[in-house]
Assembly symmetry: C2
Homo-oligomer: 111 residues x 2
Amino acid sequence: MINNEKIFLRNSAPERSKRIVEAVFRCKWSLTVYQLLAEKINRPGEMVRSVEGLTTKVLNECLRKNIEFGIIKRIEYNEVPPKVEYVVTPFGEKFINILDKLVELESEIVV
Amino acid sequence: MINNEKIFLRNSAPERSKRIVEAVFRCKWSLTVYQLLAEKINRPGEMVRSVEGLTTKVLNECLRKNIEFGIIKRIEYNEVPPKVEYVVTPFGEKFINILDKLVELESEIVV
């Protein structure tokens, strides 16, 4: 460095990625919900019946958060009785893919 | 579901990945340090001189944390005067790669 010209500005963690990762990691059921949807178990009743300890109330709260983040989408069918399904959005696919890579690293993390 | 046999157990966020992501995202300087190392600016003095607002004390704390997580390694050269360099570990490369993908998603995150 001939002169003391600063060539970098601070590059802080992007706010939205930070918020979404922390929220999903703090939510005890998100990874389980993603696993269910990957197995095409995407109707609320069946989702609750498939998992030990999952209640409708907890599932709805987890789904609401993931819909808010744009990871999951709710599809309503105009039928009698009304039918509802949940699907992962294209953005959600990318995000979950990144989470999976993080989970794969788990065994290599020393701390 | 013919019977009400639960086929899934809760799949909660892996503790270590959660801890490392939250720590790195909370550290204001980690992403900047990774950027410097990617530019081969890996000696403490030059790192501090290259970035607006970075002090030796803050840099050392950030490096210490990243060494603790196994993301960065410190190399000491047996010379006079003593020479020190910091490099990203193989694990660190994988982890930073995942962070970069998260940063890329930033613009798509709606919340």
